[in-house]
Symmetry: C2
Amino acid sequence: MYLPSWLSQLYRGLSRPIRRTTQPIWGSLSRSLVLSSQRRNPEFSSFVVRTNTCGELRSSHLGQEVTLCGWIQYRRQNTFLVLRDFHGLVQVIIPQDESAASVRKILCEAPMESVVQVSGTVISRPAGQENPKMPTGEIEIKVKTAELLNACKKLPFEIKDFMKKTEALRLQYRYLDLRSFQMQYNLRLRSQMVMKMRDYLCNLHGFVDIETPTLFKRTPGGAKEFLVPSREPGKFYSLPQSPQQFKQLLMVGGLDRYFQVARCYRDEGSRPDRQPEFTQIIDISDVFRNTEIGFLQDALSKPHGTVKAICIPEGAKYLKRKDIESIRKFSADHFDQEILPVFLNTNRNWNSPVANFIRESKRPELIRLMETQEEDVVLLMAGEHNKACSLLGKLRLECADLLETRGVVLRDPTLFSFLWVVDFPLFLPKEENPRELESAHHPFTAPHPSDIHLLYTEPEKVRSQHYDLVLNGNEIGGGSIRIHNAELQRYILATLLKEDVKLLSHILQALDYGAPPHGGIALGLDRLICLVTGSPSIRDVIAFPKSFRGHDLMSNTPDSIPPEELKPYHIQVSWPTDSKAAKAH
Amino acid sequence: MYLPSWLSQLYRGLSRPIRRTTQPIWGSLSRSLVLSSQRRNPEFSSFVVRTNTCGELRSSHLGQEVTLCGWIQYRRQNTFLVLRDFHGLVQVIIPQDESAASVRKILCEAPMESVVQVSGTVISRPAGQENPKMPTGEIEIKVKTAELLNACKKLPFEIKDFMKKTEALRLQYRYLDLRSFQMQYNLRLRSQMVMKMRDYLCNLHGFVDIETPTLFKRTPGGAKEFLVPSREPGKFYSLPQSPQQFKQLLMVGGLDRYFQVARCYRDEGSRPDRQPEFTQIIDISDVFRNTEIGFLQDALSKPHGTVKAICIPEGAKYLKRKDIESIRKFSADHFDQEILPVFLNTNRNWNSPVANFIRESKRPELIRLMETQEEDVVLLMAGEHNKACSLLGKLRLECADLLETRGVVLRDPTLFSFLWVVDFPLFLPKEENPRELESAHHPFTAPHPSDIHLLYTEPEKVRSQHYDLVLNGNEIGGGSIRIHNAELQRYILATLLKEDVKLLSHILQALDYGAPPHGGIALGLDRLICLVTGSPSIRDVIAFPKSFRGHDLMSNTPDSIPPEELKPYHIQVSWPTDSKAAKAH
């Protein structure tokens, strides 16, 4: 599994992104982005009037006659203006002599962000007026002719201030927002990263890029899938959440190394965003099996009860009493849970209200299990397994935040730390009926080879061959080895999960015809690019994102459709009887 | 416009595809496809058991212990079998000694197309038994251990015979069809071609690859767009036919060189497939303005009447009387049109029933206009302009077919001939009401600069800046320079086309904020790959195509949805009152 090392390599090849620039640094654009014009001259055909891009002119171009096109970024005292395209900025001198009155009029009267074309000569800036922060800072353009290609109306906001505006305004005027440095940077970096991925998979490793359909059959339990009515009465397509069935069918079809940058549809209008979550913990229940501490005993006597702990290395050195208090308060407020801190001081004495209750004989075992060292702090907690895990995961991040405010460098934001999460359970008890099982991921995931016998006796104990990839604490991908045996797949679907096998008969049939053992992984591209660019939201790495309610604020989508246009699809709207809802539409 | 030359170049870099192989040549697969294993060793991680692919073993591997995985392609007299993966074929010797009884049992009993894993030694084939047609034909594998990874049920058809089967059967068992040589070839070539395109655009010319949404707003007149109900009562998304609005918005947003391999949705259930069509003709009406030939005179006296001709070079030499008769019959049967053939013999005498009616004085003019030479045949026809053009286009192809059966090499199938079609009209009269205009392509296409003044006086005469790209007679792409001026766009939409401007207010607004002049082109990838691979149908270059009625025959899609699953989308099915239709579903 070479992805993490590859990604780090890729990343070193790209320039370091700037984290959250509220003051966009236009000048740095052409330095920080690897654009074609810096690497070689773009081909200009006879249909293109510009001879150069705004960002590429240097002292070596002195004396050349050039034609440039761009947006007016800035104008000062009707003497010069700064022209911008997305290769950079260039300074243009507005002619002051009478004979150039018409050129002056165009350049002085065009509103900011208008598109103009200028022709002129590349000249040196006067001594002392060079701008070393600007790649084109040694030269300027002495204009001879100018043309206004398109005038710009008064803008709803200034391009450079876009980050200060509300997100709703940015989404409504997305085409202006896209002109900002940060959006240009994000989208261009995304394009380059995806290209590197393709290059790696396709050119270096013989993967085959295959497009799979997005109009497909509903998957069982696919309540989050968009429906698409067809022209046959009562018949619908579905927009699949992922090409998961097609991936497997391609394997059966012998396309042995397949990849796709796939569009996934998930109608999550009714669901909160799933938060990726994982925890590293250590189970110390056995140490406390015969404890005298009330709340630990309570917890252990219950089903799924456990005692867990995390160790904060050198916590005793950096964390103050009030920090520990805030941690206890945090867990009490958020999880209604008690936390027991244990301080290990230099002479290994235990400094904790709980210390007296932990028998001397148990202490070495605890120290061994926790791998604690001097000056560490141990946080003990007890409770129902899942809740305890979830809380300790949060406490761990909370403690890291605290330690970092005390000057301890724990997480280097320039590092990319990858982690595989494995050994997930194959099934989970259904929330609404814990006696029935549901797939922890999806019903096609293969069981762990050593656990297959448990499928017929204790299926809830079977581990899966699912794996998740985590980058700096964020889940960025996941995948699994799939079931390639039709009988096993039928048993899991029909007997264990009680699914309607008819909906999946094509998959079961395909497995019967010589399906090879296979597996794969999918990366969440939006989230990955988000982490790499340091963007606060995935909407900042997507050209035209929907709002969190699934709306396109620019075009006002979704929108009403006249009833006669629904007729070919044999559907009609069921208006809610609640008059409020009807009015609201 | 460098596309055609680039494509030819790309094409030379790829191997020559095989046209319509009914007998797939398995051995040639590894020769004709440029796969990673031939170029470099694929990385095998510790999770992969095979040490080599089936296609890569040569004499240089003699003596090596290898582990291979593949499908059983062929077995002979329980002595050897041929193992296949999609890098090639390899011969495996089934051990005959008693001690290997279990291995023999596995390899002799596994049904064809089962997946097996074998380990053994690479040995030389006995002298005289080498197979020079097979890249691995000098060696074979002496097997020591074998494992049946997945058994295959009896197949509905043999993989190598897939082309002989009905297309419905092929689509139903698409995952088996995909194992055929031709489908593997088509999909792998497609992947490589798209990769070359991306490489060219992205890496060489700084284009930015941007994904645009597929859930968007209905476009005016978008009767062919699929609808997607949202969870808001009566509100719908639409699946756009193309990212046409987004492309323009990206230009306004300053993403100056954008491309995308985009998914386009067109609900053509109710429309026949549009056939690309173009014709080259020569208008010779003026020559016959005062003709005495009845049907020509008739035609010219009507509005849009015209006399047109095509010249068949050296037709007199190759075409027989009966060929000309079949051409006359073709035009009479298909178009209810008369055709007048004119033979030009060596002494430039005119040999035609019409010859006497063409005045001697007109003949040189005709010869000049038609650029005819000795032994050419001229086909004359008259009629309504559009009909005449359409017929002559078809006659031209018909004549080419005839000449080719006579041994004349007209169309070299190994050549790629590109052609730009330009100067389309911007508007066409509406079929249902010829006094109103509709866009010949779409309302965003810019008028030809020299015709802009006609927009306000004779809009039907305005030429557009639309261009189509034709490859070997097939339209493979088209594009246009777009309108960047909001006023002009508003005038065309509201005044000339009488469209509801509200649906496009976001585009009009975007043009107001400094939209640069812009244009683009879109290639039809399916059709292009179809031409390059010589496939009879675009369904042969798509992994999971729909049938011509829009069905997925493998999974039976579209399918019924229980009414309760329609509730969240506030729609219900309007069942047709016609009981037949209701039963049919």
